[in-house]
Amino acid sequence: MVEIPFIQRVIAVAWPSFLTAGLATILFFVAFDPQDLAALLGKTKSSRMGVYTVGFFLFWLLTLTSCLLTCYFQRPCETKNA
């Protein structure tokens, strides 16, 4: 089996999760106004740009986790005991 360079594996996880996180952020914030969300949480002072940014990174964290797990589980199971 060809050894895939470490950096290539990193990008194979980071890049698709970045794309899907971007998409999720757009869809989520089209439906919900950050200021309405802030009002629900009882916070009055929050910039929309800030909420978008934090929202994007939370989505990225989520998709990153999922991509990492896919990467982890696709490795072949160890069949023999060491």
Partner: protein, 474 residues
């Protein structure tokens, strides 16, 4: 300046063999040093790149009717595109536009191969800009390769540092312009000059600048080869009539070096002089003579350089050329094929539909929210009150005064506390209203009623929304 004028040297060693192998961002690969090229396609690409970069950096500064002409104002949740304003409610149009964009990409791919990749993709456009800067500072391909192999010295460090400083400055300006499409660019520029830029804007400018610097300066063709989803599936749109860049194997082989003026047939050679210039100019570092490869972004640099060589040798141009598989095998190319006709019709229908739908948009939004404190209220006279909050959004670019009416049940009285219902451009107005009714006319507890809001100065600017009127159990 010998690099600018390709010379035909017999049996130049394949370039990639002598390149230093470097560990890069993505995968272990050999750094590609594309040789500068001149010719008709190079000129076309330069014009395309200048126009696209000009649009990107220029449009952000255009004004229209007192606001930035193209502004996806995320802080205000409004998108301005010249005379049009879009709201989150109009997301549908955006999705529609994306479908059209995707279909156009399929259409052009089926028709003319990877035109997008070679001429218009931002990755190509910015890589070309970065390559141009690199050449201006580091010199020709040969000079760059020599310097990279040499030991670090003060001169080498100075040249490399200068290149990166210019790259980073250019990337920062690109990032600034990018953020300028999402938050008003004039304010942004003012904030930068007065050192009062907000933390989120700062972050995104740096983020996008870093992406530009990394993608166009370092990763380049690797983005196309490893990261681009389109590159992986574009071949599915290809058929034997798609325009591709191809090497005419029948004419070129057997390849081999020769002296100028010698009849190749005598030596049993084809037209390819094996000068490897087509490999040297390739930005993705492939050999087009190995056939159509998915790394080929269709930039046509090999066509330009080979035509030059053919001219010098006194051979006919077009050993490498834009052609189709059918053409190469001696058949006729069919342009109007079922998939092209289908894409054309579909695109026309979608684009026409979008223009029509946008032009028919009603620039008024009305939401009916029932009061949560109770289903209904009984007045002293025994009448039933239902309380609502109407959310009115004026999506037009000018203020309006509106008239409200309610229908659906006989004898309803509409009580609005405000004397006038007005909303400025882009304003969201919460309007509390009460609907009063004699319960004698009610046939059931829950009834549908309709609120209609109409602009006084434009009867076509009207919205009707359904609400519920609730009375006592019957």
């Amino acid at each position: 300046m010998s690099e600018n004028k390709p010379t035909v040297k017999p049996s130049a060693a394949a370039v990639s063999e002598s390149d230093p192998e470097s560990s890069s961002f993505y995968a272990k690969h050999k750094k590609v040093y594309p040789r500068e090229v001149h010719g008709i396609f190079r000129n076309l690409r330069t014009i395309g790149i200048l126009v696209l970069l000009g649009l990107y950096y220029g449009v952000a500064w255009l004004q229209w009717d007192g606001h930035q002409a193209v502004l996806f104002d995320l802080p205000a949740r409004k998108f301005y595109v010249f005379g049009l304003t879009f709201w989150p409610q109009d997301f549908f149009f955006f999705a529609w536009l994306l479908v059209i964009a995707a279909l156009s990409l399929f259409y052009f791919t089926a028709l003319a191969g990877r035109l997008w990749c070679g001429y218009a993709c931002p990755q190509t456009v910015w890589t070309e800009a970065f390559l141009w800067i690199e050449r201006k500072i580091e010199g020709t391909r040969g000079q760059q390769m020599k310097r990279d192999k040499s030991e670090m010295s003060a001169t080498k460090f100075r040249i490399k540092a200068l290149k990166h400083i210019v790259w980073i400055a250019f990337a920062l300006f690109t990032g600034f312009t990018f953020v300028g499409y999402f938050t008003p660019i004039r304010e942004l520029a003012g904030n930068i000059l007065s050192f009062s830029l907000g933390p989120w804007e700062t972050f995104w400018i740096l983020f996008y600048s870093f992406a530009t610097y990394g993608n166009a300066g370092w990763m380049r063709e690797q983005v196309c080869i490893y990261m681009c989803p389109y590159a992986r599936f574009q071949s599915a749109m290809f058929d034997k009539d798609t325009l591709i860049i191809a090497y005419d194997e029948k004419r070129g082989e057997p390849r081999g070096s020769r002296k100028r003026g010698i009849d190749p047939k005598e030596k049993g050679l084809g037209d390819c002089v094996d000068c490897t210039l087509c490999v040297q100019v390739c930005p993705t570092g492939i050999d087009i003579r190995n056939g159509l490869q998915y790394e080929c972004i269709g930039c046509a640099a090999c066509i330009d350089v080979c035509d030059d060589v053919m001219d010098k040798m006194g051979y006919e141009k077009g050993l490498i050329r834009y052609t189709t598989e059918h053409n190469l095998s001696g058949q006729k190319t069919k342009i109007l094929r079922p998939r092209i006709i289908m894409y054309t019709l579909l695109l026309l229908a979608l684009a026409g539909g979008l223009v029509y739908a946008v032009s028919q948009r009603v620039l008024l939004e009305l939401d009916i929210i029932r009061d949560r404190s109770g289903l209904y209220r009984e007045t002293d006279e025994g009448l039933i009150d239902n309380i609502y909050t109407l959310k009115i959004i004026n999506m037009d670019q000018k203020p309006h005064q509106y008239e409200l009416s309610v229908s659906g049940l006989e004898g309803m009285e509409l009580i609005v506390k405000k004397p006038e219902i007005t909303a400025n451009s882009g304003e969201v107005v919460d309007l509390p209203v009460t609907v009063r009714l004699d319960p004698a006319v009610l046939e059931r507890a829950s009834n549908e009623i309709e609120f209609t809001l109409t602009a006084k100065d434009d009867p076509e600017l009207t919205r009707t929304e359904t609400g519920r009127f609730v009375g006592p159990r019957i």
